[in-house]
């Protein structure tokens, strides 16, 4: 180091306070000077010939208050080598000359001035210093190696090792490392060379450790970057480039659209977490990946499902009643049940929706009743036809692992409805198939259990969805095919067939106006009086419901339309005669009820899925052995019933006034037409007894009387089911006198009042009662 010029005593120097750094003697330092005080100090220094300035570090960089306390007491006397003034700052290059100690500050404004005293750098020497200097060089070499400076470590190391002076080496390293002010100041103030070297050695070692750690982290992170991540980064870059070019890739755009959709959807928290995860996955998948489509459609489903969205129920009892009455004639029981439910919902909005099941023959309006319930409650209506469904996954969805997997029909219906409380009509629940692929009715068990369906888990969706607000209505033609556990969950509401009078009203109110509108006729052009409608019902239809009736009315309307279109007629009133012209002769003769009944024939009543029917039981004695021959495709129960009847008649022959010899004349043949239709059940018991009694007594059974009831060997008549259908069937056949078991008396209440008034019902407790009512007087 060159010997600095001696300091003139008692001459104060302008002071340049430094933030964040320290100027070391002999070293250059470029500085940006911004503060007014500092600029003034630089100007004052530049104006002197020597350009000398005192550079001192501030204790606290944020401190703008500058006095003796704010500055370190040791600084560096420096010369300004270069200066350049730009608009808002002054750049200077200063070079440190020597270490000085501030004696006092003797000016604060416009810039600091201080009187300094020389504070020469230490000059101690020892072998220890030499050894430590080498050690410091080694440590510096390590730091330089790790830091990888752009000039290359070699150039720097060459310079460092060329620096013989231990303090200069310390200062060089001190300015190279990013040390804080206190540490740099400690180097400047070092009392001995040894102390300075010790301090810089400590800093270097610390720096080397940090750099090593940093490198370890960096290389570890690099090692962990797998091929997939690399692809991800490349793809992200590609996206950024495409964004810049305005060419968003289709999959990226899709993911964005989905993200927006999902953000807009009101999702429960659990669903949100899951969907976010899948969305991130989607963004990383190439669109060609098979998983891509699966994930995308799944996310679309999530976004569209009404997780929290529900429609408001309109719970206006009067209005509902009006709507139900508008849509359907009769069916008072069913309507009342619906109103009851509505009333409950009104009083307790949290009530679980019931699961109703309408059971009845085809065409009685089960499906359309579901429709009008939904309409009356202002619920969205979705219909699911279960007929022929035999795959469980069709109801509960396929797992997403399968390509082409779809959610089940239930979830699809809810999605279509767009609300989580629609009314879902499970049509034809009795027609569910069952095979090796699974049992869909088992899946229905979960769906239809109010205790379980609040967390219904579709295989595809794989998240619980709340179905408890859904109003389920099932329809079925018969309950027998339904498994017991399923039946147990349903609230059964029976819709039996319509009576003639009800049909007349239905035709008048709904069918004729509808068909008339359909064929484009006016009321004048197609006037169908009541009498004609009755004739139409009697002569051209035979059914429990109204489909055939509607078809036939449609047929009439089309024929009328043809006439009107030909221009031959403009006003047509359809008389009964015209009906024959239009439709041909009657298809069903009401006199289906046989007018003449030879002994051995009795009229029974059967219940079929299509409603009630009359059934003729024919018994005849055939020569030969005394065996009982039964034909007409009778099932086991009915055959046993026939044997019981025969035994009863044989054992009560005396009481019935039958000559015992009659039984020896041969066997009995019982036949029940029509022979092609299988029949079964116990309810033909009384008719069988009547037929046999009639055969053996020779007294014919009354042609205007039909009967039903199970018998016992002891002569009791037991109750049977389907009374309403049976009676309506009999009425259709023109029979107005009915014999029923006494225990079925309560069922009469189900009959429409008009039918009740017009029908004579005889209640029988014992077979004797039946025979008394059924057989003509023997004298005939």
């Amino acid at each position: 180091m060159s010997e600095p010029t001696p300091i003139p005593s008692n001459v104060s120097l302008p002071v340049l306070p430094l933030k964040n750094t320290v100027l070391f003697p002999t070293l250059f330092l470029p500085l940006g000077v911004g503060r007014d005080n500092s600029v003034a100090a630089v100007e004052a220094a530049v104006a002197t010939e020597e350009k000398i300035i005192l550079v001192v570090a501030q204790r606290n960089a944020d401190d703008d208050r500058l006095d003796a306390d704010a500055l370190f007491s040791v600084g560096t006397r420096a010369v300004i080598k270069k200066m350049n003034r730009s608009d808002d700052a002054v750049e200077v290059m200063v070079q440190g000359i020597e270490r000085v100690r501030i004696v006092r500050i003797d000016q604060v404004e416009p810039h600091l001035r201080a009187v300094v005293d020389s504070f020469p750098l230490p000059t101690d020497e020892s072998p220890e210093i030499e050894a430590l200097q080498r050690e410091v060089l080694d440590a510096a070499a390590r730091v330089v190696e790790l830091a990888q400076p752009p000039q290359g470590p070699a150039a720097i190391m060459q310079m460092l090792s060329g620096t013989a002076d231990p303090l200069r080496l310390t200062f060089l390293l001190g300015s190279m490392l990013s040390l804080d002010v206190a540490k740099e100041q400690a180097l400047l103030e070092a009392p001995t060379r040894l102390a300075a070297l010790q301090r810089i050695h400590e800093y270097l070692t610390h720096e080397a450790q940090i750099l090593e750690l940093k490198q370890q982290i960096a290389s570890k992170a690099q090692g962990e970057m797998t091929r997939e991540q690399r692809q991800y980064f490349l793809r992200q870059q590609m996206r950024a480039i495409q964004d810049e070019l305005g060419e968003r890739s289709p999959e990226g755009a899709e993911a964005d659209v989905l993200r927006e959709k999902l953000a807009a959807a009101d999702l429960p928290e659990a669903v949100r977490v899951e969907s976010d995860r899948e969305l991130t996955r989607l963004e990383r998948l190439p669109s060609q990946a098979p998983d891509y489509q699966v994930t995308r459609t799944w996310l679309e489903l999530i976004a569209e499902l009404p997780w929290k969205n529900s429609s408001d129920d309109v719970l206006d009892i009067e209005r509902t009643q009006t709507i139900l009455d508008e849509d359907h004639y009769g069916l008072t029981d069913v309507k009342e049940r619906i109103l009851e439910h509505l009333a409950v919902l009104k009083l307790n909005p949290k009530a679980k929706a019931p699961i109703l099941c309408f059971v009845g023959p085809p065409g009685v309006g089960k499906t359309s009743l579901g429709h009008s319930i939904a309409r009356s409650m202002s619920r969205k209506f979705e219909r699911l036809s279960l007929g022929g469904m035999h795959d469980e996954s069709e109801l509960r969805g396929h797992r997403r692992t399968y390509i082409g997997a779809m959610p089940g029909r239930i979830i699809q219906a809810v999605r279509r409805a767009g609300v989580n409380n629609p009314m879902i009509l499970l049509d034809e629940v009795d027609k569910l198939g069952r095979d090796f692929r699974g049992d869909p009715s088992a899946a229905l068990l979960e769906v239809l259990d109010p205790a379980q369906n609040s967390t219904f888990r579709d295989n595809y969706l794989d998240l619980p969805f709340d179905l408890s607000k859904v109003f389920f209505v099932a329809t079925a033609n018969a309950l027998d095919p339904l498994p017991r556990p399923l039946l147990d969950r349903l609230e059964i509401i029976r819709l039996s067939g319509y009576s003639e009078d009800e049909k007349l009203q239905i035709a008048k109110r709904y069918l004729i106006p509808r068909q008339r509108a359909e064929s484009g006729l006016t009321v004048e052009q197609s006037d169908i009086p009541e009498k004609t409608i009755v004739a139409l019902i009697r002569g051209y239809t035979r059914e429990a419901g109204c489909r055939q009736l509607e078809r036939t009315i449609g047929q009439v309307m089309r024929k009328l339309a043809l006439r009107v279109a030909r221009g031959s007629e403009s006003r047509i009133a359809v008389s009964e005669e015209l009906l024959v012209d239009l439709l041909g002769p009657e298809h069903f003769v009401p006199e289906d009820a046989r007018r003449e009944m030879p002994p051995g024939v009795a009229t029974g009543m059967a219940w079929t899925e299509a409603g009630g029917e009359v059934l003729y039981i024919e018994a005849m004695q055939v020569p030969g052995s005394g065996e009982l021959r039964i034909t007409g495709q009778l099932g086991n129960i009915m055959q046993e019933s026939a044997r019981a009847a025969q035994s009863y008649v044989a054992s009560h022959a005396g009481q019935l006034g039958i000559d015992r010899d009659k039984f020896k004349e041969g066997g009995v043949h019982i036949h029940v037409p029509a022979g092609a239709v299988p029949k079964d059940g116990p309810s033909a018991g009384v008719a069988l007894v009547t037929a046999l009694a009639s055969l053996f007594t020779g007294r014919p059974a009354r042609a205007d009387t039909a009967m039903t009831g199970e018998i016992t060997l002891t002569g009791l008549v037991l109750p049977i089911g389907g009374v309403k259908e049976k009676i309506l069937g009999a009425r259709r056949a023109g029979i107005k006198r009915i014999i029923l078991p006494k225990a079925n008396a309560k069922d009469i209440r189900d009959l429409p009042a008009s039918v009740r008034e017009d029908t004579k019902v005889i209640f029988a407790e014992k077979i004797n009662d039946v025979l008394a009512a059924a057989l003509e007087d023997g004298r005939a």
Binding site: P150, Q151, R168, S175
Partner: protein
């Protein structure tokens, strides 16, 4: 390495060239048949302020460039010229125990001739 590494390191390499607080004037050196001619850029330096010293083979030129403010009340906005003490050591091969030194100022250039004494 921190962001300002480049600045720091380039500053570093600069430190080697000028490790002394005195500035170094630029010089051209010519070989003469009997010695050396050293041309030094010393504009604004008066002859009185320059000292020459020949120690063995090393010529030491030192001195001081005094600054002057051209006009009163001016405000300096740039300083590139180096003022104050300067010192330049130049090694000149040869034996200069007995040599003559001639100096001459010409338009801001100082010409220093170091010539062997002939015939001794």
């Amino acid at each position: 390495m921190p962001v300002d590494a480049v600045r720091l390191v380039s500053l570093f390499l600069q430190q080697v060239e000028h490790s002394k607080p005195a500035w170094q004037p630029a010089a051209d050196i010519y070989r003469l048949p009997t010695g050396w001619l050293v041309k030094m850029e010393l504009a604004g330096v008066t002859a009185e302020d320059v000292q020459l010293n020949l120690r063995g083979r090393t010529l030491v030129v030192s001195g001081r460039r005094r600054d002057c403010c051209p006009d009163a009340g001016c405000r300096q906005s740039r300083m590139e010229i180096e003022y104050g003490r300067f010192e330049r050591e130049i090694e000149l091969p040869g034996d200069w125990q007995r040599a003559t030194i001639e100096t001459h100022f010409d338009n801001g250039m100082m010409l220093i001739r170091i010539l062997k004494e002939v015939g001794v």
